[in-house]
Amino acid sequence: MNYWKEFSKGLLSDNPVLVMLLGMCSVLAVSTSVINALGMGFAATFVLVMANIVISSIRKIVPSNIRIPVYIVVIAGFVTIIELIMKAYVPDLYTSLGIFIPLIVVNCIILGRAEAFASKNGIIASLFDGLGMGLGYTIALCALAFFREVIGAGKLMGISLFGANFQPALIMILPPGAFITLGCMLAFLNKMQEKKAS
């Protein structure tokens, strides 16, 4: 088993956001600032890694008829842990991410990896798969948030970049900005992919 391959596929070639277009709801909603994107990305990565490990280790004793409810319970357990941790130690981030933290339970990247990978592979491979997918999600989220925050708020990580006279294009931190930016990123990446293939 090539663990590096399992890890690296999530970063670009099978990136959950930019290639598989999974988990769009949270991606579009929380990418208004890089801080939010990092927080969301790490929360999702934690859940993804832990859920993958547990689901992989119980994969032989879970009857296949009820596997989805079992996976959901496992995922919900880890989401509750990360939710309570964030509420205790980073209350600001917790408030600004709001409903999207508990919604990690229904994030299709996590259930997708559980169903497509962890339930069929060993524990170590599942760990690397979860880590790669989680980092891929975080990178995509941060890239999207970078453009949206710089153009839409004139800031990066909450620090003003252009001085007081800069008038940011508010549309970029509104929902339409998320769709336009993501669309442009996907188009650019597909174009690059095409160039590489030809």
């Binding site: 508010l170 339409p176 336009i180 669309g183």
Partner: protein, 329 residues
């Protein structure tokens, strides 16, 4: 197209009816139709108008050229469609808008609303209105700062005054509302264009002249502007008489704001509106209803832009349900 020449008989497949109208000739007619409003705008807003219009048109044509070059497509700036989009966008902007915002809006119209969808004929939404919507969402303060004609003093649009007065009335400030309403321009001023507003929307007479020219030339079906303006007129007449303001009220709603510009030049865009006759009537009714709804009950004083964009969304649906039945079935 295959055609065979048999002496004095030419055999060819359909279509058999041909026209000399081309995209560029039709677009030229639109530019001619926009000229009266352009002249009035230049007279009332002077340099503010000229600079916005020039920047908008140049940015539109340039972004079309650059995008088509960058994506290895045939460059189609000679069909005037980008110039028309730039001019129409400029007509919907406030006269003193910073020019870099004008350029961004114009580029957004062409690239986001038109070229990304595949260029002229493939766009879902009216490009000029998308440009305006993006600007309103991005810089709401600059997009709602208006100046008065000739002297260029910052002021409110007539529809803005009405909205503000309604808010004051709802709060119980009758004197404040009365003072505001006293600032309303006369209907004559609104008719010739001596009011605050977007560059090209102020002069009713110039827009009507341009619209009639397009209808006369056959580029525009009277059904869309007819039902659009008619719906607004009927609804505001009912409201005008119910609130005791009489016939002044519906006339005011027709002459002010972007209604005439939208009804004649934007709701009649060939690409983004229904092609069936019945569909065009539904489209006009929907636009009129949404415009009145946004003006009277919405958060914005003016609703023409969003009502046309919303109706653009359901144009394919309208076309599907108003398709003529095949004879005999």
């Amino acid at each position: 197209m295959m055609s065979t020449n048999l002496g004095n008989l030419v055999v060819s497949s359909s279509p058999h009816i041909k026209t000399t109208t081309t995209i560029s000739s039709a677009m030229r007619d639109v530019l001619i139709a926009l000229t009266p409003a352009l002249i009035v705008s230049l007279y009332y807003f002077r340099w503010a108008s000229l600079s916005v219009i020039l920047v908008s048109v140049i940015a539109a044509v340039l972004s079309e050229y650059i995008f088509q070059k960058a994506t290895n497509q045939e460059v189609t700036i000679n069909d005037y469609s980008a110039a028309v989009t730039g001019l129409l966008l400029a007509f919907t902007l406030p006269p003193n808008l910073p020019l870099w915002m004008v350029a961004i809006g114009s580029a957004a119209s062409i690239i986001v609303a038109k070229q990304i969808f595949g260029g002229l004929g493939n766009n879902i939404f009216n490009p000029a209105l998308i440009g305006r919507a993006i600007l309103v969402a991005s810089w709401p303060a600059a997009m709602t700062t208006w100046i008065s004609p000739i002297d260029g003093v910052t002021t409110a649009t007539p529809l803005g005054i009405i909205k503000e007065a309604n808010t004051l009335q709802a709060l119980g400030d009758m004197t404040g509302a009365g003072n505001l309403l006293a600032q309303l321009p006369t209907l004559t001023d609104a008719f010739i264009g001596n009011i605050a507003g977007s560059l090209g929307e102020t002069s009713a007479i110039a827009l009507i002249l341009g619209g009639l020219y397009l209808i006369y030339k056959g580029h525009v079906d009277w059904r869309i502007p007819g039902t659009y303006i008619g719906t607004v007129f009927v609804l505001t007449t009912i409201i005008g008489f119910a609130t005791g303001q009489g016939v002044w009220y519906p006339v005011f709603h027709i002459l002010t704001g972007g209604l005439l510009l939208g009804a004649f030049f934007m709701a009649t865009d060939w690409v983004t509106t229904p092609i069936t006759k019945k569909g065009r009537i539904i489209f006009g009714l929907g636009c009129g209803l949404l415009t009145v709804l946004i003006r009277l009950k919405g958060g914005y004083p003016e609703g023409v832009c969003y009502s046309i964009l919303l109706m653009n969304c359901i144009t394919p649906l309208i076309d599907r349900y108003t398709k003529a039945k095949v004879f005999g079935r």
